[in-house]
């Protein structure tokens, strides 16, 4: 079963002469373990697509099915769906600028999403250390983000995204603030996560050098999604 299925999704901002069609009839299916790259220049609709996929921005029309559950249909969120709890329990996010919470240590940053779903105490601590070791950053567990390098911060951010074993990981330009070598390492990690954890990973990027080995590559231009590579 698909982790994410998007059918005929459109997003229109404004109306009349000011109308902007940010996304137009988008169709996309992502399965567990899929590594998907979303390419496109600035203004192509990548961020809008990411916001709709992460259930932050309500589409204008179309259908979003997440993990077998219809989340959005025609022109509204499905009744009884708590999008924030879906994000909390089933999605992981990796950002361009790491976006670690600056007043929490690396350990606490990873612990935070666990605490949101009620995992506490020794179970939570064990899970945090497992993830930090997996990301090879356990020795920096008690450092504040400001004391970590860009690459280290991104690894902590990935560990945080993995904390709740998400079905889908959404990564927004995860290598943008890293040099090429560190960027490649992060991409390798994402591939590893997709294969080992069976989480679907969608990476939004404009850097074609970073998408080597991805299962699917899509190109977004003027709100239209084109399938490039399998």
């Amino acid at each position: 079963m698909e982790v994410l299925r998007i059918e005929g999704l459109s997003k229109i901002f404004g109306s009349g002469r000011l109308e902007v069609r940010a996304l137009e009839d988008i169709n996309l299916s992502v399965f567990p373990g899929d590594l998907v790259a979303l390419l496109g220049p600035s203004g192509s609709g990548k961020t809008t697509m990411l916001l709709c996929t992460s259930l932050i921005l309500e589409p204008t029309q179309g259908k979003i099915i997440f993990d077998g559950q219809t989340i959005f249909q025609k022109n509204g969120w499905s009744g009884g769906v708590d999008v924030r709890s879906i994000r909390r329990e089933k999605m992981g996010f990796i950002f361009q600028a790491h976006n670690l919470i600056p007043f929490l240590t690396a350990r606490q940053n990873v612990l935070f999403p666990l605490s949101l779903v009620g995992i506490k105490g020794e179970t939570a601590n064990r899970r945090v250390m497992e993830l930090l070791e997996y990301m090879e950053i356990a020795d920096r567990a008690d450092y504040l983000p400001a004391l970590l390098s860009g690459g280290e911060q991104q690894r902590v951010a990935i560990a945080r995204a993995l904390a709740n074993n998400p079905r889908l990981i959404l990564a927004d330009e995860p290598t943008a603030s890293l040099d090429t070598e560190r960027g490649k390492k992060v991409m390798e990690l994402l591939k590893k996560i997709a294969k080992e954890n069976r989480s679907a990973v969608i990476v939004v990027t404009h850097d074609v050098r970073m998408i080597e080995g991805f299962d699917y590559v899509y190109h977004l231009k003027d709100g239209h999604l084109n399938h490039l590579v399998k």
Binding site: L50, I56, F95, L104
Partner: protein
């Protein structure tokens, strides 16, 4: 996970500086509370310490403390004759500024009938009460006097035979108790030069009257000297079972005096001399509380604004609003409560340094704390609105 505490740990320098700043404001609020209470306590201390059943004063006057009252001394005999009165004592009270120990000191003198009359000091913690008709005094320790010290007031020196801290005057200055004739003498007795000048002046004035020979003018002089047997009030103790209102009515109707009970005398002071300062202090308390709340609001708002991106990340990864509300509220409460405690400790360590009495009452502190916490909650609203308005999309760099 206590996000508020972790954030404050990271900004502990600013947090501590804010606590000190707001804490100082709270200390001033508490000091104002204390000064307010102290102002009332001291203003009423001599009334409460004297506490007769009735105060008889000059007609239409609110004396002897709120307004000057003057009456001949012998009127206390008339009051004594009123049915229901067990004891009626002459009482004199006035404020002076004299040299004591080489220093100019502001204080008040109480003159009373030392042989069993009302109005004297009830609690003497060192020495004894006045036992002689003349030249003895009971003093307040604030004057720095010790037993046996001699103080010159007017023409004579008075020996300190006792110390009492029971009462201060209505301005908070120390009290000295003297026998009634001594107090009258200190107040009215002129020095010899002034007596001679006054006699000359009177004599010249009388000599201008055609009907008077110089000899008869000379004979009239003693009768025309100003009377020094003046008192300010008569203090009354009623017989057991006597009707206070009835006795008061009788004195008003037949003796043409104003009569007040001690609670009425207190009300006269509260609505009169003490009212202005009391309102002033109340206004200061309110203003300072508002300033404290505004400062806390601005600090919390700044703290929240600095966390907007973190709040967006929290929302994006699914943190419910209650997590964010709790963080902002906790910071506000930590700031408010810590500042209040700092202010409370500070004022309890320093209240003795204030020149006026700072009377710290737990009830006032509890009320101030409740007002401060309420203010802290209100102050956090500004930050909360900002936090709740923050869009999760901000974390992705969009919207």
């Amino acid at each position: 996970m206590d996000l508020a505490v972790y954030d404050l740990k990271l900004h502990k320098g600013r947090f501590i500086a804010t606590i000190i700043g707001v804490g100082l404001l709270f200390a001033i609020v508490l000091a104002m509370n204390g000064l307010y209470r102290g102002n009332i306590y001291e203003g009423l201390a001599v009334i409460n310490a004297t506490n007769p059943d009735l105060w008889v004063v000059e007609r239409f006057r609110g004396g002897p403390f709120n307004e000057q009252s003057s009456m001949p001394e012998y009127y206390h005999y008339s009051v004594k004759a009123v049915p229901g009165v067990e004891q009626a004592s002459p009482f004199i009270y006035y404020t002076v500024e004299r040299q004591i120990g080489g220093e100019s000191r502001h204080f008040s003198i109480v003159g009373y009938d030392v042989f069993g009359g009302l109005g004297g000091p009830k609690q003497i913690y060192a020495g004894r009460g006045i036992q002689q008709a003349h030249y003895e005094m009971v003093a307040h320790p604030k004057l720095g006097l010790r037993l046996g010290d001699k103080v010159t007031l007017g023409l004579h020196a008075y020996t300190v035979v006792g110390l009492s801290r029971e009462a201060v005057d209505t301005s908070g200055d120390p009290l000295i108790y003297l026998s009634l004739p001594d107090a009258q003498e200190v107040l009215y007795q002129k020095d010899n030069e002034e007596v001679r000048t006054q006699r000359e002046r009177l004599l010249r004035s009388l000599s201008r009257q055609n009907s008077l020979t110089p000899q008869s003018a000379e004979k009239l002089l003693p009768a025309l000297q100003p009377d020094t047997h003046i008192i300010n009030a008569v203090l009354v103790r009623l017989k057991p079972g006597a009707d206070r209102a009835e006795v008061a009515r009788h004195i008003r109707k037949w003796l043409y005096f104003s009569v007040y009970t001690t609670p009425e005398e207190i009300q006269l002071m509260l609505k009169g001399r003490l009212a202005g300062m009391t309102k002033q202090l109340m206004l200061f308390r309110i203003l300072l509380m508002i300033i404290s709340v505004v400062i806390i609001a601005l600090v919390i708002y700044t703290f929240t604004m600095e966390k907007v991106r973190s709040i967006a990340v929290m929302k994006l990864i699914g943190a419910p609003n209650k997590v964010i509300v709790r963080m902002v509220m906790e910071q506000s409460m930590l700031l408010t409560i810590s500042s209040f405690l700092f202010g409370l400790i500070l004022i309890h360590q320093t209240w003795r340094l204030f020149p006026k009495l700072v009377l710290l009452i737990p009830g006032d502190e509890i009320i101030t704390f409740i007002v401060a916490v309420t203010g802290g909650i209100l102050a956090s609203i500004l930050g909360l609105v900002q936090a709740l308005k923050t869009q999760p999309a901000m974390a992705l760099g969009g919207q």
